[in-house]
Subunit: 195 residues, 2 copies
């Protein structure tokens, strides 16, 4: 029998489709978005917004990071962006263990390659990782602005929280930073974000 | 106000999350898979299976094609792989119109670029497009084999239909072709596919 050693990984990652996020989908009966379709949307948006990157980025590496960035949620779950600091520290440990387990399903060399790439994304120090992470964080701004504040309104999020979360854009993609500033001010005016 | 001309496209593609496929998800209460999370899964699988490509492929172009390949379903809907030939011809016309409308939401040059890439995927003549399309078609084999035949059993699909649908693998990725042959024979033995 022909063995495809990647089959276990391909099967395992199917579970990301069951991980629910706080954001709800206006086009699909306000059901909660899952992390698999989110990853697709971030990857596609990053492709379309690549020219806004201030530093030179390898968009192929950026997309790859985005495609794998949420896999750890299969074990660790999705944490709402504005949860407390203690929760975030515990989440980081869970996610590292998850990354080792999930990429460990791949042939050794391939698994090491993707684990390293995931760690690079998490550290957010290289241009590619910073841009990838910025894309993950800016997409909900586009989504919530088209959905009357969406998850912001429900969770009483403030404009400052959104700006803090997107602060990398200042150096990563300054035009998108201006956009986020203006859009979140508009959201405050509309009562979708706290001032 | 800062304008981001890609915002309309980023918003529009959110609708792909509402397009339901025949395949059901064992990890999420057997709900129907949607075309956005499917696109993510195909892209990630293609990354992991890139080394099986017999011809040289630019995996970055392959991934990009995969990320956009189903967008036309926003207007045209998903068609089950084993629908009749007349249905497929009508679907092709609808999809072309959809591609022009949806990529037309982007700035002109960028829209043209992605329309061309989508047409390349559809034509399936270049190595990149053939591999991308083969990945789209082989993923349900992995998924259904892990879910007791999944959509095959429900729709009384035959092994020959699956082999015909995956025939490009013979030249594109021969080891995966062997795998599909063996796995579908196993599916026949289990009663998941008609012989
Ligand atoms: Ca994310």
């Amino acid at each position: 029998m022909t063995q495809i050693p990647q089959a276990a990984f391909i099967h395992e990652v199917d579970q990301l489709k069951a991980i629910k996020r706080q954001l709800r989908l206006p086009h699909d009966e306000e059901r909660q978005e899952n992390s698999a379709e989110h990853s697709w949307h971030v990857a596609l948006s990053a492709l379309m917004l690549a020219d806004y990157a201030e530093q030179s980025v390898d968009i192929s590496r950026v997309i790859t990071m985005i495609l794998i960035h949420d896999l750890v949620e299969i074990d660790a779950g999705d944490m709402f962006a504005f949860a407390g600091a203690a929760d975030h520290a515990e989440q980081e440990l869970k996610e590292l263990a998850a990354a080792k387990r999930i990429f460990g399903l791949l042939p050794a060399e391939q698994g090491q390659h993707y684990l390293k790439l995931w760690l690079e994304f998490e550290a957010a120090e290289t241009n590619d990782a910073r841009f990838a992470k910025a894309m993950d964080r800016v997409l909900p701004v586009f989504q919530n602005m088209q959905n009357q504040g969406g998850s912001w309104a429900r969770h009483k999020v403030s404009q400052q929280q959104i700006l803090d979360r997107n602060t990398e854009l200042q150096t990563c993609a300054p035009k998108l930073w201006d956009y986020v500033n203006e859009q979140t001010s508009l959201a405050v005016a509309k009562g979708w974000l706290k001032s």
